[in-house]
């Protein structure tokens, strides 16, 4: 149970950073925390204590029932996809942040509020 609570805490810390920080890079870091929290949660969902990696090497394993004691591989595959998506979003977000830095010479959000409301 504790790892799950830790995930939720990590998510909330990330959300706090995104909402309260004024620095663009810190907002990106906060977003990364949110993403890691969700990915970690998803990976935990498939975890089983003391289980084997989900690789079937021989028909005997299936026959003897070892195959039942595998870690669920699906969340791992999904988390991998989610990490790739997260990579591209982080890259795009940082490039937008850099563009904003070029225009304003600062990362501080409160300095450049051209758009309001």
């Amino acid at each position: 149970m504790i790892p799950y609570i830790a995930c939720v805490l990590l998510f909330l810390i990330g959300l706090y950073v995104v909402v309260s920080k004024r620095n663009l890079i810190k907002i990106v870091i906060g977003f990364c925390l949110i993403e890691y929290a969700v990915n970690l949660f998803f990976a935990l969902v498939g975890f089983k204590k003391g289980a084997l990696p989900p690789i079937i090497t021989s028909a005997d394993q299936v026959r003897l029932g070892v195959a039942r004691n595998f870690v669920d591989p699906v969340p791992q595959a999904l988390v991998l996809t989610a990490i790739v998506i997260g990579l591209s979003t982080t890259a795009l977000m940082l490039s937008l942040a850099l563009r904003l830095y070029e225009k304003h010479k600062t990362f501080d959000v409160s300095e450049f509020r051209k758009l309001k409301g």
Binding site: F11, L15, V18, L24, I27, F31, I34, E35, A37, V38, N39, F41, F42, V45, D72, V74, P75, L78, T81, A82, I85, S88, T89, L92, M93, L96, A97, R99, L100, K103, H104, F112, K114, L115, G117
Partner: protein
């Protein structure tokens, strides 16, 4: 019935997005050509698939690799048909419009088309995918493409809007992924049909409601529903005009409303009789969006910003109609998705032409454009009539059905509110028409030329469709909207049809 056409919806735009950067090195106009071909093919395939669906009467499916429910499922029923048609019609017109519109930007024609095709691929993929994780992946594909497209002009405010949009959109995406993880932990399946069966056997536990709430927050951010609307006005206001048309007309409705409907009605199986709380929530948030969006639109001075706030108000209409929860409510919601996509598409395209030719979008500086840009002006005027619900345009019938739904559910105040805000919509749109397109006698009209032919053609096509949908509403209702509304009404049939087929 199996259909081998379904993978084309994803393969064609992805192949286009791959070829555009390669071939545009040889000749820069290949970008236009490939994007044009890809969108035309998509339009033809979506109409053709819809006709097959109409003829066969059973939903079409395609199991990638023949793995059945553990693999990737593609699913094409009446609801998908509606969404896919909306995406590809507006996508085609936006593409046609972009050819000359992109002359405003000095470089990056191929970048625009690559992102554009990725956006279309994501939306189409979301519409036809039959499993939860693919839905998420396609939402993210289209969302990432849209962030980059909002920042396309790389001016100060565009980048700023894109950043704001991106942070909110990605938090929404993370919340969606969290909901998906919860569902997977609970049911060990991701296919929508098996998921729906697993949830039906579990009953309506607190967990069920928690997952619904998580997913709803994710979709609410994506659709720009009222408490989460802050990004929408900036993003739709800053994007290039064809992208604004696509984002406001299609994107928020496909990733937000369609995604929500598919999951809530077909997977969770909510229904007015059993889970009224869910429907009342939709009505509450929908009504707030409708009222606040309409009032905020009223006070805008920038033409595109006004249209963006109006989108929030129209999303409110769709949510309210879904919340009514009877057949006419669903018909109204789906009809409004169609009518608003066509109407708002026209208005944003017209706003782009005005900005391009007159050099400004500030309402204070625009006067008497009707003289110099008759096609653009009349496209805008007819589009406004449709949005405001003037008969016999498409928008009139969607609002009529919503009001019929509200009255037959005995929610008279809601019917009154919908009619009232229809009048508010009319008043803020006529404000634009009066100020920008007609001049008072003593005023000098702004000097401008009519927009280039392809841009005019894109607007004329959309207006013609508005008129066709409005005048032939009976046919649209019987062949397109009615069956789609039945998919929402008999939500749990989805699993039966997919697993039986």
């Amino acid at each position: 019935m199996e259909s081998r056409f379904l993978p084309l919806f994803i393969a064609v735009p992805l192949a286009g997005a791959f070829l555009v950067p390669l071939l545009s090195k040889i000749w820069s106009r290949f970008a236009d050509l490939i994007a044009g071909i890809a969108n035309t093919v998509l339009l033809v395939v979506s109409v053709y698939t819809w006709l097959i669906l109409r003829a066969g009467g059973v939903p079409l499916h395609y199991w990638v690799g023949g793995w059945k429910v553990i693999g990737i499922a593609m699913w094409f029923d009446a609801l998908t048909a509606l969404v896919v048609l909306v995406i590809n019609i507006v996508g085609f017109c936006a593409m046609l419009y972009s050819i000359r519109y992109l002359d405003r930007y000095t470089t990056g024609r191929w970048k625009f088309y690559t992102l554009f095709l990725l956006l279309i691929a994501g939306l189409n993929g979301l519409a036809i995918s039959g499993d939860l994780f693919n839905m998420f992946v396609f939402i993210e594909i289209s969302a990432i493409a849209s962030y980059a497209l909002v920042a396309f002009g790389t001016e100060e405010e565009e980048v700023e809007a894109a950043f704001k949009y991106m942070v909110l959109g990605e938090v929404g995406g993370a919340v969606l992924l969290f909901g998906i993880a919860l569902l997977y932990a609970h049911t060990s399946t991701l296919n929508l049909a098996t998921l729906s069966q697993a949830l039906a056997t579990n009953g309506k536990t607190p967990f069920y409601w928690f997952v619904i709430a998580t997913l709803l927050i994710g979709f609410a951010i994506k659709m720009g529903m009222e408490p989460f609307h802050a990004w929408l006005a900036d993003a739709h206001f800053s994007a290039p005009a064809p992208i604004s048309a696509l984002l406001s007309g299609v994107f928020i409705k496909v990733t937000g409303v369609y995604g929500m409907c598919r999951l809530m009605f077909n997977v969770f199986g909510v229904s007015r009789a059993e889970t009224p709380a869910f429907f009342n929530l939709l009505i509450a948030f929908g009504a707030v969006s409708m009222v606040l969006g309409g009032l905020l639109a009223y006070s805008q001075n920038d033409y595109k910003r006004l249209l963006a706030y109006s989108s929030i108000s129209q999303i409110g209409y769709i949510l309210v109609a879904l919340g009514i929860g009877n057949y006419w409510g669903f018909v109204g919601a789906l009809f409004h998705i169609l009518a608003h996509a066509l109407g708002k598409g026209t208005l944003f395209l017209a706003s782009g032409s005005v900005e391009m030719q007159a050099g400004t979008r500030e309402l204070d500086h625009l006067k008497g454009l009707e003289r110099s840009m008759p096609f653009t002006s009349w496209a805008h005027i007819l589009g406004s009539f449709s949005m405001a619900g003037v008969p016999p345009f498409a928008g009139f019938f969607s609002k009529l059905f919503i009001i019929i739904g509200a009255i037959s559910a005995r929610m008279y105040w809601l019917a009154f509110l919908a009619a009232l805000f229809s009048a508010v919509t009319l008043s803020y749109l006529t404000k634009v028409v009066n100020v920008a397109f007609f001049a008072k006698k003593n005023e000098e009209p702004v000097r401008a030329k009519e927009a280039p032919a392809t841009m005019v053609l894109a607007m004329v096509l959309l207006v013609a469709l508005i008129l066709i949908v409005g005048l032939g509403f009976q046919g649209v209702l019987n062949h397109l909207i009615g069956p789609a509304a039945k998919v929402l009404m008999n939500g749990l049939d989805y699993a039966r049809l997919m697993l039986g087929g």
